[in-house]
């Protein structure tokens, strides 16, 4: 018996009971669709998160005050001189640029409209280091720093809230914590970030923030130092250099740094492990429905074997060996689940696409990704389920005693 012939025969037999075959397949369809949709959404979410992280820049490092765990007490704050020390190209040759910032929240208002936003006090280096682009107006310059100028750049969300528009705002005056600031530029839209929207942010000169809004003690304290390494490959070297310089300056013992260096790679790793766990978890739950579908196949194949006992007896009388009967029923069950699996893949892909469209319409750019490996996995897995859950019924059919099977009513 060749395979093709048994496939045709299995199709004929499944076709003979369309309703039943369809319902049995539905179990697999739903299971596979759920798995595919979940994997696609998971992969899409991962892409979106990783995409927004890569927007930060792959050669970017963050330096915070404080140890990586609770064991470091009374950490010395990072200061402007720490930042300046990092700029030394002799002790830190792999550091391209250093951007210390002060960060806090502040209230911005304009003619009665007020909004609480993230205020960041920055140096000119901040713009290249963080890939901030000014869509209209100018960046903050060294003169602004020296003069502690009351100038501000607005994120688009802030502009939307205060002015209901994004153009023609240069020259307007807004109040930050009650003090008048002149708008010198609008930042280009950046989208969501790790900690909320990056567009609900305003930038002021570092010295202005230090002196007038976010007063810290000691006075030259900085909240975060962004460090750009010369290229993505030297991030590890950069990390070592920062660590060496700062531990020397803070006089900390080896392994007891009172600061934390965080690279974009660390964030990517953390984020992908979180989304990976979520995807596996949800996919696992979806896989349970696949299992239920498989049990459905076994159930219906058992019914089919009982129903066709006479047919099996006849086939054996005509010379079918155990193997022939086994192959016949296994072909049917795996065909059921294979076809169900293929429909499920299409359905799951469609579900993912619809969710993608809906979420893109509602403002979050999100592209569900059906990977080839997921499709292959689903196809193979559903066929294997058909085979596995078909084995018991098929075996039962193959082991029927011909005399009794022929006598069966």
């Amino acid at each position: 018996m060749n395979i093709w012939r048994s496939v045709i025969e299995a199709l004929e037999s499944l076709n003979g009971n369309k309703m039943r075959s369809g319902l049995t397949m539905l179990g697999i369809v739903i299971g596979v669709a759920a798995v595919i949709a979940m994997l696609a959404l998971g992969a899409g979410a991962q892409d979106t998160i990783l995409g927004s992280l890569s927007g930060i820049g792959t050669n970017l490092l963050f330096v915070f005050s404080g140890g990586e765990d609770e064991s470091i007490r009374n950490p010395e704050p990072l200061t402007m001189s720490d930042a300046e020390a990092l700029e030394d190209s002799f002790s830190a040759p792999s550091i391209e640029a250093v951007a210390p910032v002060l960060q806090g929240s502040a209230e911005v208002s304009y003619s009665g409209e007020a909004s609480t936003v993230t205020l960041t006090g920055v140096t000119p280096a901040y713009f290249p280091v963080r890939n901030y682009v000014v869509s209209e107006g100018k960046e903050i310059t060294e003169e602004h720093i020296l003069g502690r100028a009351s100038v501000v750049l607005l994120g688009v969300e802030v502009a939307d809230t205060l002015f209901d528009r994004r153009e023609g705002l240069v020259g307007e005056t807004v109040r930050v914590e009650g003090q008048p600031f002149r708008v010198i530029g609008i930042l280009e839209e950046r989208g969501g970030g790790m900690m909320g929207s990056q567009d609900n942010e305003i930038l002021v000169p570092f010295s202005t923030a230090q002196a007038r809004i976010l007063r810290r003690s000691p006075a030259d304290q900085v909240d975060v130092i962004f460090v750009q390494s010369v290229d993505a490959d030297s991030v590890t070297t950069t990390e070592e250099e920062i660590s060496q310089i700062l531990s020397q300056r803070h006089r900390t013992a080896v392994g007891e740094n009172d600061f934390t260096i965080f690279s974009q790679q660390d964030m990517v790793d953390t984020a992908s492990s979180i989304t990976g766990i979520l995807t596996t978890f949800i996919g696992g739950i979806a896989a349970i429905s696949l299992l239920v579908g498989g049990i459905g196949i076994m159930n219906i194949m058992l019914v089919s074997v009982t129903e066709r006992t006479r047919e099996i007896g006849l086939r054996k009388a005509l010379g079918a060996r155990k193997r022939d009967i086994l192959i016949q029923f296994l072909t049917e069950s795996s065909l059921l689940s294979l076809v169900g699996g293929l429909i499920g893949i299409a359905l799951g892909w469609a579900i993912g696409a619809v969710v993608g469209i809906v979420s893109t319409r509602s403002g979050t750019a999100f592209e569900p990704a059906v990977s080839l490996s997921a499709v292959l996995l689903a196809t193979i897995f559903s066929t294997v389920i058909g085979l596995f859950f078909g084995i018991y019924p098929a075996n039962r059919a193959a082991n029927l005693v011909p005399v009794e099977a022929l006598r069966y009513e």
Binding site: K316, A317, L318, A320, R321, K322, V403
Partner: protein, 228 residues
């Protein structure tokens, strides 16, 4: 002339029915010559179905010896039995037992598929259907055929592998007497033309009377053999 296609010696068959042992065959010895037409008769419970199953290699005897067309059947495993059935035995059943979803041609083709015949299956099946007078019905499904026509398809299927023996179990039992006689004529003609040994299990004396020899079973033993 002694060209026996079936030789049995002291065939016994014991079924275990719970605690009880049922002796369905209690020592059956018989010989059937090649090309012979034999009817096996007997009341129900006489063991004639068991004898048919044993002679048709559907079941193994509990004891005794059975040689079919020169091959010793005892000791064969299930798959070897399947092979013997496929090559040497053709079955015709009272209730036709055709696959309802398949056409007459596919039904007749079935034994060829199990025998591993790869080439010319359709042609062979077509010839077999022609031999039973159904050349114009090859693409019909069983539901589109009369009872007599269905039994003809079954006979074509039984003969397509050119078996040594043809076992017919009440072949006319589900047919009215006119059509039943047509089927009997067909079987006898096929026997005459191709020399296939024909064994008919029946309780109908009119059918049995057309055989060359009648074997009557009673209580698991041969009670009498009558040559017609």
């Amino acid at each position: 002339m002694n060209d026996a296609v079936i030789v049995t010696r002291d065939l016994t068959k014991v079924y275990q029915m719970g605690e009880m042992e049922v002796h369905a065959l209690r020592g059956v010895s018989l010989e059937i010559q090649r090309g012979e037409v034999v009817a096996i008769m007997g009341p129900s419970g006489s063991g004639k179905s068991t004898l048919m199953n044993t002679l048709g290699c559907l079941d193994q005897p509990s004891g005794g010896e059975y040689i079919l067309d020169g091959e010793t059947v005892a000791d064969l495993n299930d798959d070897q039995l399947a092979d013997i059935r496929n090559r040497k035995v053709g079955f015709v059943f009272q209730s036709f037992n055709l696959l309802s979803r398949s056409t007459a041609l596919s039904n007749v083709e079935l034994p060829l598929r199990y025998s591993g015949t790869t080439s010319g299956r359709k042609e062979k099946a077509r010839l077999a259907l022609e031999a039973v007078g159904l050349a114009d019905r090859i693409d019909h499904r069983p539901a589109e055929l009369s009872g007599g026509q269905q039994q003809r398809v079954a006979i074509a299927r039984a003969l397509v592998n050119e078996p040594a023996i043809l076992m017919a179990d009440e072949p006319t039992g589900n047919l009215d007497s006119k059509v039943g006689q047509e089927i009997m004529d067909l079987l006898l003609n096929l026997n005459k033309d191709s020399g296939t040994t024909l064994i008919i299990i029946t309780h109908d004396p009119k059918v049995a009377a057309q055989a060359q020899r009648i074997i009557r079973l009673h209580d698991g033993k041969i009670r009498e053999e009558v040559s017609a």
